[in-house]
Symmetry: D2
Subunit: 328 residues, 4 copies
């Protein structure tokens, strides 16, 4: 197989994540190392359909390893969700003599790649790049570690003001389907409670806990709420509910929002992205297809796209236990 690969395309798709640039850089440099030409595709699958390509060499990716976002840009493409759209994209790839495609993103990105490969036979390999860490078959996704540090840094700031005023803060963090960010950043930030989508802990339990804290004289608290948590209330309703049912708390809400997606990637994310970028090119050279390269127990591994996108990861019960014990 190795001798047949002359040109590899690379794109980023879905929500951007810190470290995507480091992953692109590693893909480009690995291509240069193995004497393969690398074609950058702008704006994800939409750019694929439009033939928005540029040849990238080792120098094209200088000084980007520390930059947030993705210089290849990302975009949603309705057209690519249709067979016609994907046919156009495949045509553009064939015209550009692209032998295989590396896609960096999340489960939506991989789903698109599966269709492209199935319908048009273009070999595809994926790299998990999303802050949500909601992909199976990899311990960590690129951007997740950085997002955790951003959240913890933001909550450290909020705690300064919470402590100064003896206030209760509800802080909403990202994670529509997965509570990984909420659970880890919440423990890291020393939050007193964490509400996550994987479990319905019952608002009653939280109210009891707050009531108990208040009785011990502790009225400044941080509650981390994942945006998809199951209480059935959004964070502002939750704040109102607590305010109406508990006396003695001065309650504030903070929605961290999009700052969680940006910023210079952490060292871990840069190194992970570098490993997976090299791993993706080498997977193609080994003839692998329809796989995502991920990290498992510190080793770069490949898993079927089908495995990567199926269902959701289970909640880390041990972390839940650590939270309970350390907020005694």
């Amino acid at each position: 197989m190795l001798e047949k690969i002359k040109r590899i395309g690379v794109l980023t798709s879905g929500g951007d994540a810190p470290g995507m640039n480091a992953a692109i850089r590693a893909v480009v440099r690995s291509c240069a190392y193995y004497d393969i030409e690398c074609l950058g595709v702008y704006r994800g699958y939409q750019g694929l359909i439009e033939g928005d390509f540029e040849v990238l060499n080792a120098r094209s990716v200088r000084n980007i390893i520390n930059k947030g976002g993705t210089f290849l840009k990302s975009a949603r493409s309705k057209e690519f969700r249709t067979p016609e759209g994907r046919a156009k994209a495949a045509l553009k790839l064939k015209e550009a003599a692209v032998d295989a495609l590396i896609v960096i993103g999340g489960d939506g990105t991989f789903t698109g790649a599966i269709f492209l490969e199935k319908e048009h036979g273009i070999p595809v390999v994926g790299i998990p790049g999303t802050i949500d860490n909601d992909i199976n078959g990899t311990d960590y996704t690129i951007g997740y570690d950085t997002a955790l540090n951003t959240v913890v840094d933001a909550i450290d700031k909020i705690r300064d003001t919470a402590s100064s005023h003896d206030r209760l803060f509800l802080v909403e963090v990202m994670g529509r389907d997965a509570g990984d960010i909420a659970l880890n950043a919440g423990i890291g930030a020393g939050a007193e409670e964490i509400l996550i989508p994987e479990e319905d802990m019952g608002i009653e339990r939280m109210m009891d806990s707050l009531e108990k804290s208040r009785k011990t004289g502790k009225t400044s608290s941080i509650i981390v709420v994942a945006e998809g948590e199951k209480s059935g209330k959004n964070i502002f309703e939750l704040a109102e509910f607590i305010g109406e049912n508990l006396e003695g708390y001065d309650i504030r809400v903070s929605v961290l929002g999009h700052i969680q997606r940006g910023g210079a990637p952490s060292c871990y994310d840069r190194v992970l992205a570098s490993k997976l970028g090299v791993g993706a090119v080498e997977a193609i050279l080994r003839g692998e297809n329809r796989v995502m390269v991920g990290i498992t127990n510190k080793i770069v591994t490949s898993v079927d796209f089908a495995t990567a996108i199926q269902g959701s990861k289970p909640m880390d019960k041990e972390l839940r236990r650590v939270l309970t014990i350390t907020t005694v």
Copy 2:
């Protein structure tokens, strides 16, 4: 006067600001330097009423110069707004043999001090500590410079994702009455538009500008909106309005919120707080009363409380002009 001052009280009141701890430290150390006893008052005017005091010495304030928030805590006190509340506070101060009081905060804080002095003859000196920079008689308030850096850092992160997705972001920053944060941080962050409370720029003008940008192919933009801006719409309504009236923009909203109040103070704020803390103690020793110490053209100066709290600062028109020119 100097020989009569044996004990000085110090409190923080109103919204907390980074650098308040550095100011307290400088007050405490200056007292020690001049052989005066320093009494820390917890939880602002409420703690004054309750006699929540603690003697502070030079070692009490070690390793706090770099901490956000205020270790003396702050609180709102309804009781202190009544003559009866202030009488209680005055009694506590007399019982504790406090000869003068230093209050760190904003205009509400100074207003309280004016009443306390007028009704009970307790000498008071103020230090401007608020992120809003909305106090007359000082070029800068403690916490303002740090808040600017926090905002700029947050918008840098948002720009990563804005650029990656060609999105338009509306970012709300603090400043109910003053657009200083919005104007300075907006220019610092390279925002394309800034909406501030001091002027009604007209949404039409902004829409024209966005329309023009879009025609030049620029669809990723940052618009900074001060929380009190005069368009008559809140930021979510504004986003909806733009979305309904302009095609081609993918719009997102980010409300920075309370992260702007916390964090390690910048070097500027630490030095300013140190200068003003020394200045406040020395103002008392010179027999000054009902004044705020501030910084004007790099010199520590005193102004009457009446001047400090009157009206609002005018908008910096030169900065407005710089924005117009640099977003050409």
Copy 3:
């Protein structure tokens, strides 16, 4: 065993590392959770000898999870290296009715604990806290991830000036025996070369590589040097050697030094410290002794002290390969 443990001592020893406070917090909170009294020992083994103890409860460790350093302080103790010193320490522990001791630190710390247990029968459990990541039996030590981010952030700054001036920078990072920091932070920072103690790569190879880079017009470069690297030259001699043997390079040296030990811990280090703090207390409750709790494949595990301190970890050859490929 469980019913016999009424009181646990905890100390930090050796070089401090970000996250030690988070580990102490988790130990204290776990003790509170299991209704055990926790005794903090100040200044490591020296404080043990002097009986410098304080009872810690859940509130003693509020708001420290985000602080660098160790509030229990650390110190070197010559006296503890003697049987007499350890006898004094054991006596103090018995007087204070301490049933078991948790020690947080590196291999020197664990070696001390082994002697204490062997000579005086005091159960000991260790937690790996060192920025060097040079302990066997755990994938990561507390503080290592933070140090990597600190180094990468510093080199990002240096790269700004290196690029502006087309300069070659030699940057010395910590790691006397292990090149983990140099290798990971070097890849993360996009360094062109990394010199580490585990291998003598030969200065010739580096000189060839620099010569080659220069020919392609690239004269701004970062070379990361671990403090213990095997070239036989210190970093200033190395700079001089390169300057004398290669034309066209403007060379500068930067020794990062002690900033690598401090700073707010990363989210990863805070979570790891929380897990291991809980794990250490539970190991004692299970009757374990002479073990270190570590993290292996994301699971908290125990290993014999003997294993933890033996020899050095092998270099990560895969990372070396990733470096070679991505600096093509």
Copy 4:
């Protein structure tokens, strides 16, 4: 004059400083606003001699306001110090139809500009960009505020480890001729002593002070040393001297070095650079020549180059006093 200016050149020279990119951006945008063409000169005066030019438009400077360093690069040029070198440069400027030149840098940069104007009649305006804040005629230079924050952040980290180990740290910061960085960052970081080039405080006084501290039980301290301080000893000799003459101190040295030059500029530096960039273009349009635009009492002003580069700023005696009082 206004109608005669059709093309303005801009270059950065001397040591790079955070905010230089923001200044270039403002120059380029101001040119666009006034319908003038802007020519970027790479690598300072050396690039001027070589004609290393590129036309810059408003889009050329997108997304650089937050980047450290200078994308136009800087370089030292021996050739430009000769009349022949400057004649070559002048010729290149005339060939490129450049009507006036804006130079961003420090006193060496302005000295070069004075010669170029005197010998060849090319109008020149300067912008002060240097972390040292050692230019007359401006309250602040671009990059200085950022450097202060970088230093304070580094010393905060060092203090974590200093406190944990009860160590005395000597920290060397930049400032060969001016102690502004040492004095401000030292106060900001809560240093116990600050040694600066403007005064010979006498090592004896410092030794007395350390001796006194030690007697009060305080053995962890930070001493900030400007690289040009007048004790006659370099920082390593100083450490040795203290170690030999004072018992009870565990002494460490940290040289902060080049990290002080890099990093994302602070908000203040970005806004200052924006103002001065606009100011420089407008100064040219008003027909000014041989001047530097600076900031005095928050107003953009022009001063003769001769004034800007003469002698050194006096030490801020008030800050020295604040230091003495707050380290009581």
